[in-house]
């Protein structure tokens, strides 16, 4: 039997002032970690490649062909799977992951495609704002009592809870090095507590006469924000607490810091962390830019996977690499440093960990990586697959504010079965 208190118990104890200073900081995180590994539901890290990464220059190369580009292919830890030379560390981890080479989706403009790939629905249909994957996972798998948020988005406003409401909105961290904004009061604890007490009195008085559901919702949200401010678990947001040695592997980029923050948050029990790496909209200068971006991915993502593995968290944490679409198999003629344009018809995504069978390639594109030759994966297929991996029933219906039932994933999905 494990004598360490669970994270939940820890919270109760520290809220009651029982644990005091001795359990603050890293010790609390340690306890939380020990508790979490025993009874984990799954969590997700979504590495969002904003702008639409070129599949033909990352996971599905055609070296030596007309529009194949200058990159070479390298072997990976899995026999027969070859990827870009600029993702060598990811190649070493290939046995833990799968490449989805036959993504085929319907939206070719950034905003609509991002919406579609985040929510599974098409923007504007049905007069609803649909929840993103993060909000769905937060709602279905996250703890509803925890002070820590269940959905954190790093480096991006992201797509929110839609009709699921404020309870499942992402907590946004613009800069991983700065953590959650406005999390600390500028006042001393005593004065802040006085104010919160006074605020609560005002709220009680108002609620007695008004009873409106809005006043209740406002009170709840303010109380949750205050609880979060007082929660020692928020130390997970503070990257300066990470030893220099374990930071190094992530590289010095913002994206690398985002991956490190994602690891700390997953350890602290957050269900869904999205980390954005922008700059993939390479209409021009594709090859210099993709090389640079790939290098950032290679450090940050590989270190994240290794760290999760070392901590026994990889089997319960699904790491997804994807953008809103791929890029044209043909190189365009835009100036001396050409690029590739938007291309939703055939592209690649990748998944690691989360208990999937690694070392696989799902689907196949044709000789030019231009059309799907085998096993097309639609947005619905993809969303349903993610749900299956993390243990969410994708046919479950949530209710929009107007009472209308809405499936987590719309009808017509054909999830990939060979990953589990």
């Amino acid at each position: 039997m494990n004598l360490l208190p669970t994270r939940r118990e820890m919270l109760k104890l520290s809220a009651a002032g029982v644990t005091g200073a001795a359990f603050s900081g890293w010790l609390n995180v340690l306890a939380a970690r020990a508790a979490e590994t025993r009874q984990r539901t799954k969590s997700v890290v979504l590495l969002w490649m904003d702008g639409g990464p070129s599949h033909k220059d990352t996971w599905d190369l055609r070296p030596g062909t007309d529009h194949g580009g200058p990159y070479r292919e390298i072997n990976t830890s899995v026999n027969g799977i070859r990827i870009s030379e600029h993702l060598p560390k990811m190649g070493e981890l290939m046995n833990h992951g799968a490449i989805l080479r036959s993504m085929s989706t319907a939206e070719g403009a950034h905003a609509r495609a991002k919406y579609n790939l985040h929510t599974g629905y098409r923007e504007g249909v049905g007069g609803l704002v649909y929840p993103s994957m993060g909000a769905i996972v937060a709602k279905e798998l996250g703890s509803q009592e925890a002070a820590m948020p269940n959905f954190v988005s790093v480096g991006n406003r992201s797509y929110g809870a839609g009709f699921l409401g404020p309870r499942h909105q992402p907590l946004i961290v613009n800069d991983p090095a700065r953590g959650v904004e406005n999390l600390r009061s500028t006042l001393n604890t005593q004065q802040f507590d006085n104010r919160v007490g006074l605020l609560d009195e005002l709220e009680q008085g108002f609620h007695r006469t008004h009873q409106a559901s809005l006043t209740q919702a406002h009170r709840t949200t303010v109380n949750r924000a205050v609880t979060l401010m007082r929660d020692t678990g928020t130390a997970a947001f503070d990257l300066s607490r990470e030893p220099a040695a374990s930071r190094a592997g992530y590289g010095t980029s913002k994206f690398g810091e985002g991956c490190l923050l994602a690891r700390r948050l997953i350890e602290a029990g957050v269900s869904f962390v999205e980390v954005t790496l922008g700059g993939w909209d390479t209409h021009q200068d594709n090859f210099d830019r993709v090389k640079n971006l790939s290098t950032q991915v290679d450090s940050g993502m590989s270190q994240l996977i290794k760290d999760l593995k070392d901590r026994g968290l990889l089997d319960t944490t699904l790491v997804i690499w994807m953008g809103e679409f791929g890029r044209t198999p043909r190189i365009n003629a835009r100036g001396p440093k050409p690029g590739r344009d938007h291309y939703p018809r055939a592209w690649s995504a990748a998944m690691f960990g989360g208990g999937i069978k690694g070392g696989q390639v799902i689907g196949r594109t044709d000789a030019e990586a231009a059309t799907v030759a085998e096993r097309p994966i639609s947005t619905l297929d993809f969303m349903a697959t993610v749900c299956n991996i993390v243990g969410i029933d994708h046919n479950k219906q949530n209710h929009a504010p107007n009472g209308r039932p809405v499936r987590i994933v719309d009808r017509g999905s054909n999830p990939i079965t060979q990953l589990l």
Binding site: G160, P166, E201, L202, R224, M229, D410
Partner: protein, 565 residues
């Protein structure tokens, strides 16, 4: 079986409050998971749906003649008509109404609804102390001629007319806002405003209205927005297939879209931001000359046709004026109704039809005769927006307190008491700044906005608090917003409020507390509130100012402040 499939398809496609209710009605008697899901949905649905369902199942069972038909009613007569219709329905539902709001509650509400900000302390005191029996209607008149009225109104319309899409990030909206604000401020006839908007040509510098056509830069976006905004119809479902709930077919959609095919943006916002130069809208025969407008895959090329009407006879003339003339004519069955519903929505937080822009037979109004009467009077009174606003604001229905009584607390449909709603991000920002006495900074537009609005600007605040929401009566604020309100300026910049309140009170604590209440809540405190706050101040001992700033902070973060009630 077939029924089940239809039900399923309907649910999968567009569903609205009452169309869903209609489905529920259909599904009664079906077995299996479908029906169970319906039951479950019914169980979870808020009370408003149950009420709506009754309407949908029994549409206009006893249709009455339209009140006031054939007459031209003045403001007072229209207000009376509204109350009589609202009260008739309350009586039918056996729901007792709450009494009128007191002066302070009314004052703050009218300020927020008309000029988008809370009243100043001076205005509050003057209004509370005035003994003029007509002070409420005089207040409405005064604010309708305040230039902040046009600005606030234009800002809220722009939010519906300029899609928040990545393509519009660099778009300069200021000329559009200025154009529309002026129209509201000179009280131009609404049919004229919309006609000018729908036919706008020229450069953005000369005609701010062309911004609408730049912001909606494709034929389908134009069709969607124009039909939603000015006809009160969500036609977009018919873009790719025949509309599931209405009689609109795909050809109806593309028949309307055909009017907008030949509108071209000469320099788009992105290029203009990069290279400078004016953005210009022209209408011509561009389609003929190879340079096709970007059409979605579902596009059908059909002759221009009025919605649910005839084909337009377009010779060589530009197509938009023909459409605009049809759309804004008194004989048009959609326009006046859509305008009435939109203003009603603006003042009550919900339309007589909900969603505000989704009018069709299976989504009937809560008060059908009232909507019909308002539509008639709108036409008879020259599409005068101020006329409509004055009449609504003069009603008991609008002036009721937001405090429910024992029997009407659950009512969200029949106007038995005022439904509180969240301040919009604009109202919240401007009100906090007004209270603490700071002037907001404005972010640059266009190319300079590339990296998003800088911190400490109004635009940054708005972007942070903006959450796409279908219903203003729903709470949509999250933890990040709560944290920002609590822990950043300006909610912590209470020094000026406190200093001025203390000085004006000559350091008398009770008077200081009253001054703070008036300034932040726009009302005087009750005796209980004063004595409770006195205790709090006394406890602080030698540092009363610190305690006063605590008070201001708590008030700015409270429900009473963040709600329009």
């Amino acid at each position: 079986m077939t029924e089940q499939r239809i039900v399923r398809r309907w649910i999968a496609q567009v569903a609205t409050v009452s169309s869903f209710a209609a489905i529920t009605f259909l599904a009664v008697g079906l077995d299996g998971p479908e029906a169970q899901a319906q039951q479950k949905a019914k169980a979870k649905a808020p009370p408003v749906i149950v009420v709506q369902k009754k309407k949908a199942a029994n549409p206009m069972a006893k249709a009455r003649p339209i009140p006031g038909q054939g007459q031209k009613l003045d403001v007072a007569a229209l207000a009376k008509l509204i109350d009589s219709e609202i009260n008739r329905q309350l009586k039918a539902e056996a729901i007792p109404a709450s009494p009128k709001a007191d002066d302070a509650e009314f004052l703050r509400r009218v300020y927020l609804d008309l000029v988008g900000v809370v009243p100043s302390a001076d205005k509050t005191i003057a209004f509370l102390e005035s003994t003029d029996p007509k002070k409420r209607e005089k207040l409405v008149d005064e604010l309708l001629t305040d230039e902040r009225f046009g600005k606030a109104m234009a800002e809220s319309w722009l939010l519906c007319m300029v899609p928040r899409e990545s393509t519009n990030r660099l778009l300069i909206q200021a000329p559009f806002h200025k154009w529309l604000a002026e129209k509201f401020n000179v009280n131009e006839r609404l049919d004229k405003v919309v006609f000018d908007l729908l036919t706008a040509v020229g450069s953005q510098d000369d005609n701010g209205a062309i911004t609408y056509w730049v912001a909606n830069n494709t034929v389908d976006k134009r069709t969607d927005n124009i039909t939603r905004m000015f006809l009160g119809i969500q036609l977009e479902c018919a873009q790719c297939h025949n509309h599931p709930f209405t009689d609109f077919k795909q050809n109806d959609y593309w028949g309307v879209a055909a009017f907008f095919m030949n509108v071209r943006v000469q320099t788009d916002a992105k290029q203009a931001a990069k290279k400078g130069g004016p953005i210009t809208i022209v209408e011509g025969n561009a389609m003929a000359k190879g340079k096709k407008a970007a059409l979605p895959e579902s596009a059908k090329i059909v002759p221009a046709k009025f919605l649910a009407g005839e084909e337009a006879k377009l010779e060589k003339e530009p197509a938009r004026p023909v459409f605009a003339k049809w759309a804004t004519a008194p004989s048009n069955p959609y326009f006046a109704k859509a305008m009435v519903n939109r203003f009603w929505y603006h003042l009550f937080g919900r339309g007589l039809v909900n969603p505000v822009d989704d009018m069709h037979d299976d989504n009937p109004p809560t008060h059908p005769e009232l909507l019909a009467a308002l539509t008639e009077q709108m036409k008879a009174n020259d599409f005068d927006a101020r006329y409509l606003i004055r009449a609504i604001m003069a009603t008991d229905a609008y002036q009721r307190t937001s405090k429910p009584n024992e029997k009407n607390a659950d009512d969200r449909t029949w106007y038995s008491h005022r439904q509180p709603r969240m301040l919009t991000p604009e109202q919240l920002h401007d009100s906090i700044f007004a209270v603490v006495g700071q002037v907001a900074r404005k972010a640059p537009e266009g190319a300079a906005a590339k990296k998003g609005p800088p911190a400490n600007t109004r635009d940054n605040f708005l972007a942070f608090f903006r959450i796409d929401s279908v219903d203003p009566l729903e709470y949509q604020t999250g933890i990040p917003q709560a944290l920002r309100l609590m822990n950043s300026a300006p909610s912590n910049a209470a020094n000026r409020v406190v200093e001025e309140s203390v000085t004006a009170a000559k350091s008398d604590p009770a008077k200081t507390i009253e001054n703070i209440y008036v300034r932040v809540y726009a009302r005087r405190p009750s005796a209980d509130e004063t004595s409770r706050m006195m205790q709090y101040i006394e406890k602080a001992g030698a540092q009363p100012r610190t305690a006063y700033t605590d008070m201001v902070w708590a008030m700015l973060n409270s429900s009473e402040f963040v709600l329009n009630r």
